[in-house]
Symmetry: C2
Subunit: 416 residues, 2 copies
């Protein structure tokens, strides 16, 4: 099959643009004069707007299986009574279909890439590959109350297995958090990360008690503690970062680590504070956006959470200028945090892009980016292409009903 | 044309249900045994889920024309430089097409009814009638710096004109706010409302300065001031209510007035606080949900704002149990505030209903209402019926492209 040529698209500024995918899945040509040669596979965008896809910086994708099963329970009873007993019974097929469901939802909202931390990560990798998305995937590591040596061996095995997947899957390490991982194992992960050049995902400063515990136990605030262990590097993705103070933000900026804000999950779990983007920006921190898992959001629609993020920032700062449209959009597309792996719309980069329907009512009037951040939802996302492969066109996902049926079957099996 | 019969639908609990619309647009029959007679117009729901539609309790519908034109400006420069100069040039056709665009968006998100306050309200009424929706519509009244006698005459004329529309349009009075309307005119509106049994929409306690000004000027907090003027009655819809104290909530509850929360607009305009639903609930206040106008939201998607409302409540209270799924859903459907005009799913009520796609990925697993509040978006809304008339089926709105083109043309004319 010849590589795809997109003609008749427009930039957000209204200029005509075309794009030719190279056979290796990169962008071979991009500009106003791109046209299709006879016999090339052509996608006539008909005035649709070409934008980069979104990058979801923090997920537990297969937790779609747990969606809507928590009722109105607070966090701990929900985890202890509903989640953990079921997670102990999960198998590869559960995780595979839960992740396929998550991919379906993420693609629908214009997301090309995500950062995942969940059990049975090789099943996640298989689902990602089958869905055609990109992901950085890590096996959750927590050794509190477990066999430390066995956990470390497993961590290396998962890293090896995930490294072997190739394609659009990247391996990562995923120590759960400071409070669930021993100091020794955090040092072990830091060394493994350095040795293998593997990124590290970790939950940090999501709740105040977790910060207080860190200070109590280690005499340091969380970012300083991670830094002491060698875990605060440009390979580190810190999920949440709600309760960081200014000194921590400066340290994180100096170490070039990335913070991924998850506003929906933070508000749903009522952690009591909003990630302080204006201070992070002032400190020069690299910032991304995530949905978190469907268990605590409950959607994986990052385009919706982009609006929520911007609203939450304005609200938290009591300042309608707390975040610009350009910044919000850049953050959601991963453009403010190189580690997250966004692919720019330029020749030689991977051919990952989205086409938006300019006749979506919410995009019809006014500045396109402002509308995208504050007005549009994913009904405006028409087409999603990752590495030159069309994952969605016309909002249609042919595999939808099969994936939904299989995921529903797995959830039933688990008693969810 | 025979009236519509819906067969093969399901309740949120999974029971089979059918519904026959009577020729007058009410529900003629409802239950597990409803079937279509030969020759009746039949809609086979194929397992889709029958739920009541949403009620948007506060809009300025035609402000879709202003969407995305404010950039990142704070409130006052945006109003003074962008909105007011253009509003002075609006004509009936602008408001008609801006409102048609708003209706398109509201129907897409499962909304059947809205409460509107905007210029050229007769044009709004015409748009609502053509779109097939329901609305309570009021002409904005503000006499500060204007000819008071002329404004009052106009208010009566608008009320007469809106009363004459009939069909699914209800007239309302819409004094803008305490700070934009003189005490004398507020008393005048109160009397007119009582005499004509017309509901009153008013902005109340949206910002702290507005509350401080009210206390400074009138020696009373806003709710007490309205009460003194006879404007706090069961015919009153109070938009926002962000800065009300407990005493005011008690008073509002005692007077059986309705508060409509607009979380997206409040967060976007950074008013500094979230409407305190737990306290309002404890006081017994009638509560509804609104999007506000597209100028300050910027979408009219109440299903999205339902999630935002629930998240904002949990966040503001630092309590994951601050609002139940059932309460949130009841509020968005108008079931917690009789004045808002929700139509229950029962025989004799208007045949207003929504069918949800049970294969929407976000509704596939878990409790349906929990998923609706926290996970689903309007891609799950398949069918919207108002007064027995199908306004959307299969997510398709045949008039979409025409309405979008016309609204875009009007915005261009206005230099937006």
């Amino acid at each position: 099959m010849s590589a795809l040529v997109v003609i008749g698209a427009r930039t957000p500024d209204g200029a005509t643009v075309g794009l030719r995918c190279a056979p290796d899945g990169t962008i071979g040509d991009l500009g106003p004069d791109v046209s299709a040669a006879p016999g090339e596979e052509t996608l006539d965008a008909g005035g649709q707007v070409l934008v980069p896809p979104l990058v979801n910086g923090h997920t537990h994708a297969a937790m779609t299986l747990f969606r809507g099963s928590g009722g109105d329970l607070p966090l701990m009873p929900w985890l202890e009574d509903r989640i953990w007993p079921v997670e102990a019974r999960l198998d590869d097929e559960d995780v595979y279909w839960g992740t396929r469901l998550a991919c379906l939802e993420m693609i629908r909202s214009g997301t090309a890439r995500f950062w995942d931390m969940y059990w049975h990560p090789e099943a996640t990798a298989r689902a990602v590959a089958d869905a055609g998305m990109r992901a950085s995937i890590g096996a959750p590591f927590f050794d509190k109350g477990r066999d430390v040596a066995a956990m470390r061996t497993e961590a290396v095995e998962h890293l090896d297995a995930l490294s072997a997947v190739g394609g659009l899957v990247d391996p990562a390490l995923a120590p759960h958090s400071i409070y669930m991982v021993s100091e020794g194992s955090l040092r072990f992960i830091a060394e493994l990360s350095a040795e293998r050049e593997a990124p590290v995902q970790i939950h940090l400063s999501e709740t105040k008690p977790e910060v207080d515990d860190c200070i109590g136990e280690h005499g340091l605030r969380p970012a300083a503690y991670l830094d002491e262990l060698g875990l605060l590097t440009e390979r580190t993705v810190l999920a949440h970062g709600v309760w960081l103070d200014d000194e921590e933000l400066d340290l994180i900026a100096a170490r070039r680590a990335t913070i991924v804000s998850n506003p929906a999950a933070n508000m749903k779990l009522a952690v009591g504070k909003i990630f302080d983007y204006p201070s992070a920006r002032a400190a020069g921190v690299r910032v991304g956006l995530g949905t978190d898992g469907a268990g605590s959001n409950d959607s994986l629609d990052l385009l919706a959470d982009l609006k929520l993020f911007a609203l939450a920032q304005r609200h938290a700062a009591s300042d309608a200028t707390a975040i610009s449209v350009d910044d919000a959009w850049a953050i959601a597309t991963g453009a403010k945090a190189p580690l997250l792996g966004a692919t720019p719309l330029e020749v030689g980069a991977s051919a990952d892009f989205v086409l938006l329907d300019p006749n979506a009512p919410e995009l019809a009037i006014g500045d396109l980016l402002a509308d995208l951040v504050y007005a549009a939802d994913r009904t405006a996302v028409d087409t999603v292409v990752v590495a030159g492969r069309v994952l969605m066109r016309g909002g249609e996902q042919p595999e939808r009903d099969e994936v939904v049926a299989k995921a529903r079957e797995r959830a039933k099996r688990l008693g969810l």
